[in-house]
Amino acid sequence: MNLKGKNLISISDYNKQEYLEILRLAKEFEENPKQEILKNKVVASIFFEPSTRTRLSFESAASMLGAKVIGFSNPSATSQSKGESLHDTIKMLSAYVDIIVMRHSIEGAARYAAEVASVPLINAGDGANQHPTQCMLDLYSILKTQNTLENLNITLVGDLKYGRTVHSLVQAMCNFNATFHLVSPTELKLPSSVKMHIKEANLKYEQYTNLEDVIPFSDIIYMTRIQRERFSDPLEYEKVKDSYILDAAMLKGCKETMRILHPLPRVNEIATDVDKTPYAYYFQQARNGVYVRQALMTAILGVK
C-alpha cells in the first residue's frame, strides 16, 4: 500500500485498508518509537489556534523520528497578523518543508490549504469540522483494548451534535460492523447527516437519554465534554452541562473488557474515581496519539 503524498484532511479521505495500514505502523512505532528515519525531513507544525495536546503530540512524534520541526503555535507572531492570506502563507511554506501539519479555526481551511500546498498536508483540526488524527488514535485505542475493530458495541456519550471526534469516529467505525449506542440530551443528538453514514452501511444504532441503560453491554464507552463555547445561550448550556457524569459505582456489571475513552480535556463528565479502575483508558489513549502520528507522517512521506 502506498500512502506517499496522500493528504489527510478528513477521515473519509482514507479507506478501511488504509486505516489498518496506519494502525499496523502505529504498533511498530509503539514497540520502537525512537528511530532516526525522518532525519533529513522538515515538518511544519503550524497552529493558527492554540492547542497543547495535539501540537505537542505531533512535535514529539516528529522529533522522536529525527525530523526538524519548524512552525508556530501563536498566529499573532506570523504574517497572518499583518493580513497575509492563508493561500500565501501556505504557498511560501511549501517551499521550506517536506510536510505540513496544520490546525486552523476556520472550517475547510485544511482542504483549501492542501489544494494550495505543493507538499502533503495533515489536518490537525479545522474548526468544528474534522480532526482525523484524533479519530485514527481512537481507532488504534479501540483495536488495542479489544484486539479487534469488528462487531463492537460502541457507546457514544454527551455532545453528539457538535463533537467532531464523535462524527469522525462513527464514520470510521461504519467500516467495521459496529453497533452504535447514542447517549445524549435531546438537544445534543447526533445530526442526521452523520446517522446517514450508519444507515448507508446498513448498521444499527439506538438513541438513549439514560447512560446506565447501556453500560452492561458496551465494549467501548466514548465520553465527550459538553462544550460551553458551542452554546449561544448560557441558560441552554446550564441545562445540559451536567447531563452525564460517569462514576465508578455506575460501572458495576460492565463487561470486564470494556474500556472508557475520552478525547480530553475532561471537565466533570468522568469522575476522578474512575481513573483508578481498570476501565479507564483515556490517558493511554492520549499517548497512542504519538505512535499514530508517527505512522501517518512516515507513511505520507513515503519512508515506511
Binding site: 472550517e107 475547510g108 483549501y112
Partner: protein, 153 residues
Amino acid sequence: MTNISKKELVVSAIENGTVIDHIPVDTVLMVLSILGLDKYEDEVLIGNNLDSKKYGKKGIIKARNKFFEQKDINKIALVAPKATLIVIKNYEVVEKKFVEIPEKIDTILKCINPNCITNKEIVDTKFKVVEKNPLKIQCRYCEKTMTNIRFAE
C-alpha cells in the same frame, strides 16, 4: 417552420444557435450569467414575462451561433430546472435538450456556513450533490451539508 419556432418569433428568430426556453422570470439574468452569455460577443436576445401555457409567465434567451455541452447546461439546473434548450440550425429545430441536476456544482453557490473558508478568503466554492430530490449539497471545504441554497453574489 414548426410551432415552437413560430412562437419564438416574439423575440425574433435566429438562423443558428440555441434557444433557452421556459426560464422562470426571476432567474433570466442569472441564467445569462451562469452560461457566460453576459460576456458573449455575438447576438443575444432576451425576452421576459412572456405568456406560457405551462408556467403562466416565462423567460427566453436566444444566443446566436452558441451551442452548449450537456455539462454546461446542467449548471442552470438550480435556477431553471424546467428549462428546455432548443438547438437551431438553418432556422430548424435540430435537437432539444433538458437540464439535469449535476453531480457537482462549482462557483455559483455560496456556503451557508459563515465560518467556512470560502466565506473568509477568495476561494471558489465547490459542492457535491448528495441528494437530487429534494436537493441536498455538501461543501467540499467545510463539509457541511445543506438543503437551503444560496447563490454567490
